[in-house]
């Protein structure tokens, strides 16, 4: 199929349909409303279900009910809306229901602003709702990757019977890039849903889809089942990308999403200036590629690891955890909807190198995160 130019939001919407998630529920919120607008037109064409509900609280729970049928269900929102969905997300994780949730992140906390940010990393990867659960979280950095990961998310949600979240910053939602949809999409075989979906108690005992376990031992058992799934994800689903990592690197950047692309430009420009920097880009942020990162970050030639985010420092905690103090971990971030420019990041790296190899310590990078 020929390449088409698509906005991230539209491309993700189309990808969900291509992956068979043609049941979509939503509540409008900038900067992801184009998904809803696109699917309002597309769903009737493919005989799917489109419904705009009264709130994200309702949307989350409509998705919960819809996922109970065993069919693929998809929803999208942006930061404050995702907060409202946490109730249902927690229940779905507890009841082991698959669904795909897209968060086109905007700046926060609170109402914040509509400009791009990566400040929902904690919410996405560390729980967000109540209870002992995890989401599988994918973070695309190009529109093509957003398409590929949306389709993958549909598969993984069913494979693990767990909600899967795609986090993109506002740039991913809003910018246009050429994308190509796979001609004949086939996915690996999945276990039957006929063991758990509510389909009517015909010729079998009634099924209950629930997260309520009065007996504490049974609740613990359920949590152990979930835990084992998360361990399996850690084994099988870790995804990341390396860019220009080599034995010449002094600095290793860790960055994801749009921010990682900005860092690529920085790395290209520094290369021309004779400074060698590599990039480690997590694609799954849960499970976090900790073993791979540890390996790359603790190579002999690496002096410093710089985490760059559009937040006040969230993923950096996972980076620190993975590296376990074996290398200094520095952080640079801008937030509030401000996207760091390549020049800003470049300046940080030059200062880091100077600090390590040059004159006395100047302003520390972590301090300068207050005002890039």
């Amino acid at each position: 199929m020929a390449k088409v130019l698509m906005k991230g939001n539209e491309a993700i919407a189309e990808a969900a349909i291509r992956a068979g998630a043609n049941n979509y529920f939503c509540y409008p919120i900038t900067p992801q409303t184009e998904v809803a607008e696109y699917l309002a037109k597309r769903m009737p064409e493919v005989g799917g279900v489109f419904l705009q509900a009264e709130s994200e609280v309702a949307v989350g729970n409509i998705v919960f009910g819809a996922a109970s049928t065993g069919k693929r269900v998809f929803t999208t929102s942006s930061s404050p809306g995702i907060s409202l969905m946490q109730e249902a997300i927690s229940y779905m994780a507890g009841a082991q229901l698959p669904c795909v949730i897209l968060n086109i992140m905007r700046g926060g906390p609170g109402l914040g602003g509509i400009l791009p940010a990566q400040s929902d990393y904690f919410q996405a990867t560390k729980g967000g709702g109540h209870g002992d659960y995890r989401l599988l979280v994918l973070a695309p950095s190009t529109i093509q990757e957003a398409v590929d990961l949306t389709m993958l998310a549909c598969h993984l949600a069913d494979k693990y019977r767990n909600p899967v979240m795609i986090i993109g910053d506002g740039m991913i939602g809003q910018m246009m890039e050429p994308v190509e949809f796979p001609e004949n999409y086939t996915e690996p075989e999945l276990p039957t849903k006929d063991t758990w979906a509510a389909t009517g108690a015909k010729g079998r005992k009634p099924r209950v889809i629930k997260s309520l376990f009065l007996d504490p031992y049974k609740l613990e058992d359920n949590s152990v089942v979930l835990y084992n799934k998360y361990q399996q994800m850690k084994k099988d689903e870790v995804r990341f990308e390396l860019y220009k990592t080599s034995t010449k690197n002094k600095v290793l950047i860790v960055s994801y999403g749009t921010m990682a692309r900005i860092c690529q430009t920085v790395i290209d420009e520094l290369e021309e200036e004779g400074v060698s920097v590599g990039l480690f880009r997590p694609i799954t942020v849960y499970p976090f590629p900790e073993a791979a990162l540890e390996k790359e970050a603790t190579r002999k030639n690496i002096d410093t690891v710089l985490t760059v985010e559009m937040s006040m420092g969230q993923m950096v905690e996972d980076v620190e955890r993975a590296i376990a103090r074996r290398r200094p971990v520095e952080f640079f971030g801008r937030t509030g909807g401000i996207v760091p420019t390549p020049d800003e990041v470049k300046k940080q790296i030059k200062e880091l190198i100077k600090k390590k190899h040059g004159a006395k310590t100047r302003q520390s990078t972590t301090k300068s995160k207050k005002k890039g």
Binding site: L214, D215, K218
Partner: protein
Amino acid sequence: MSGKTRFTPPQFSNKILIIVGGFGSGKSEVSVNLAAYLARTSSEAVTIADLDVINPYFRSREAASQLASLGVKSLIPGGENVHADLPIVIPEVKGAIEEPGGTLILDVGGDDLGARVLSSLRDAFPATGYDLLLTHNANRPFTSDLEGTLKVMSEIEGASRMKFTGIICNTHLMKDTTSEVVLTGLKQSREVSATANVPIVFLSAVTEVLETMDPELIDCPILPLNRSLLKPWERQAPTGGN
């Protein structure tokens, strides 16, 4: 326990003993210990019904297996419902009130809120033949003085549509309980008893504290308590009834 025999044990002429009181006064602990004591000392069957429809924590049902080993029957919701945060009153309770067949201890939830359940079961109770016992802890905020205690009593009487027949002096400060705490509490319970014209039926206190006390100072029957409703970190070894 040394000198166990010097205490006068509590005695009851009625078959149904209803334990009520303010939140956190120690109703469940007293109920469980009373059940265990009666099971050990009397030949009659002892049944305990957990009627706490208010608070799902520290209910007497937690001691059910411990009491079962002493032959005490617990009337509690079956299966996983035993853990439910639901106001479950199982039908067997009504039956047991109508025909106790031994001693029946009703462990009721706190305050007038918990006592409402008695009102809903009112037509099962015989006209007389039950004791409504106030568990009095003078160290709890709402029952720390005469006025407050009388108010709680009147509220419970209103909600349950029953009259008090006795007071259990159960003043304590959990682990910080001393003989002084027990004696100060007894003094306050006496004051309540005199004003409300309801007798003190017994004093209850943990064995460790009672052992340090001069029994002469306690002029009422005594029920020594072995703490059985423990916080998870207090449950070091399986707790027996003794």
